[in-house]
């Protein structure tokens, strides 16, 4: 039995349809990430769960009950807002205990719960401080404490780390996972940062243009993108895509025809697509200075040094392609050779942009 279920839910702001026919089922206690660029509708989905946004049509079930018109207060939601939404005029303790006091929970129990949350999020000694006296990280943890202390069924986070600086974000990610495992609530986490998505999420829903492009584990989303959008969105720099120019079991790259493996040949043949786009992740491309059998000659036009890695830019069938390698084997721009690794290839139907799937032996 799913704890949150969307059944062809549509959300309109005026005439503009922001969520187009959403079907999503979230298991109890799961850590699900809603990932997408800004304006894709991910926050709207979160707010529809919390009741802060109404549902134009379709049904939402919480713990099996129809929740469309349920008052936000009755849905058992603990939420962390992007700007933390701490009450500037209340101390940390009052902020955390705000909800509990509204529900007239006995003071003794409030004190215990707050004490526990404060220790978990190591906010000790800050209880009587005002939000403006805290650092960004501390404020974020107070917002977390306030959401957790409710011990509600659902734990919603709307880009909670986006206001933190880089180092803090890493630490905060680990804490989030730790807390989730401790409290065991169903956690829905909205972010546009794919690293956060990959590290925090047990499952990721990649969203674009109001639709779920793919819903799967981080590994699958990275290794087997369901469509071109997911492929390009996940991974940075994003996956290289170019016209595969596949024909009769071969792939033509810059006028060099390379034979496909039997598995790929069979897959490509039966894809029934007029035109196929090939995709390779930059980190899966290894260039060599010396020619090699079955390698494609390329001229590296541009070269970037990221310190721990090096990037080489060249073109394949008219598209700019980038290769990321650990060390600077080519020592600057010059002629190089690329032997594509069949295990790292992806093919998409140019028309539907859907992934045509992978041959058996390649799915190591």
């Amino acid at each position: 039995m799913y704890s949150i279920e969307f059944k062809n839910v549509i959300k309109r702001f005026g005439k503009n349809e922001v969520i187009k026919g959403l079907n999503l089922s979230i298991r109890k206690g799961e850590r699900l990430i809603l990932l997408g660029s800004s304006g894709c509708g991910k926050s709207t989905i979160l707010r529809m769960i919390s009741g802060l946004e109404t549902i134009s049509s379709g049904e939402l079930y919480l713990n099996g009950k129809l929740a469309n018109d349920m008052d936000p207060g009755d849905r058992g939601i603990g939420m962390v807002f992007q700007n933390y939404a701490l009450f500037p005029h209340m101390t940390v303790e009052k902020n955390i205990a705000y909800g509990l006091r509204i529900h007239r929970i006995p003071e003794k129990e409030i004190a215990d719960r707050v004490k526990k949350a404060v220790t978990i999020l190591n906010l000790d000694g800050l209880e009587q401080r005002l939000p403006r006296e805290l650092s960004g990280g501390q404020r974020q943890r107070v917002a977390l404490a306030r959401a957790l202390v409710k011990q509600a069924d659902f734990f919603l986070l709307d880009e909670p780390l986006s206001n933190l600086d880089a180092q803090l974000r890493g630490k905060a990610r680990k804490e989030l996972v730790r807390i989730h495992e401790m409290y065991g609530q169903t956690m829905i986490y909205v972010t546009h940062d794919q690293i956060e998505a990959m590290t925090v999420g047990q499952r990721i829903a990649v969203i674009n243009d109001g639709r779920i492009q793919m819903l799967d584990t981080p590994h699958e989303v990275y290794r087997r993108p369901a469509n071109l959008f997911v492929a390009k969105f996940i991974g940075s720099p994003s996956m290289n895509v170019f016209d595969g120019q596949t024909a009769a079991g071969t792939m033509r790259l810059n006028d060099t025809a390379l034979p496909l493996t039997p598995g790929w040949a069979e897959k490509v043949g039966t894809a029934g697509a007029e035109k196929l786009l090939a995709g390779v992740r930059p980190e899966d491309i290894t260039l060599t200075a010396e020619p090699e059998e079955g390698a494609v000659p390329v001229t590296v036009q541009y070269h970037e040094d990221y310190g721990s890695r090096v990037g080489y830019y060249f073109t394949i069938n008219g598209e700019e392609v980038i290769s990321i390698m650990r060390d600077d084997v080519l020592q600057g721009c010059r002629q190089a050779y690329w032997k594509p690794n069949p295990g790292a290839l992806h093919f998409f139907d140019a028309a539907t942009e859907r992934n045509i799937g992978y041959p058996e032996e390649a799915a190591e």
Partner: protein
Amino acid sequence: MKINSSEIKWHLLFIILVLLLIYPLLFSLSTSFKTMSEAFQSSSLIPADPTFSAYDRVFTTINFVQILSNTFIIAALVTIFKLVTSVFAAYAFVFFHFKGKTALYFLLISTIFIPFTVTMIPNYITLSKVGFVDSIYGVALPQLADATGIFLLRQYMKGIPMSLMEVAELERASHLTRLRTIVVPLIRPAILSIGIIFFINSWNEYVWPAIMIKSEVNYTLSLALQMFVSSEGGTDVPVAMAVATLTMLLPLGLYAVCQKFIIGTFAQSGIKG
């Protein structure tokens, strides 16, 4: 504090302006310590032989404490009711969404544009029908709400981030609780500043009390001034100035105490465009 040359002229301009505005206050203060004849002889700011005779006449001939308390009661009543009604109305216009909200808002705001020549006669007749003429409560009754209050408080309430209210919504807090625990505390400086403006305006009010109040026992400070001004018998100027100075004491006191406050609130977020 070095002020560079180009700014000197602006500082000069402001200093002249301040002197022009402060001079009348000083003039009133100094005249209140002069005798009748000296008041007319010299207009210097330092009285030749300062005397408390004017203040003495004020405290002996009129029941100053009664007049002070009348003025205070009206001002307090008007201020508290105006604030309460304005806060609730402003809250409704910011945090509720209902059909006809704009129309209702402009219906209320239009009262700012109703001149008192429209309201004076009908209100006088209505209040006299219910026996409220010549009573301080009659003066206060028509002023228990103020559209400027709604207008200003609405501006400040708009400054409250929506997410704070959503936190309350997630806790199923009633609107009254949201008002009490979030909205009012957050705009408390604005409420107090607007409250002080309401208080001072009511404290200084002259026209409406002049129409409503008849007997001396109900007089307010502005009316008390009239008890020393007679076109037939002449004006006791020092006493008039003494009353004027005494009238200024409380507003000046309030302002001195909360000046940082008032200036801060109005200066900080004013009327957002």
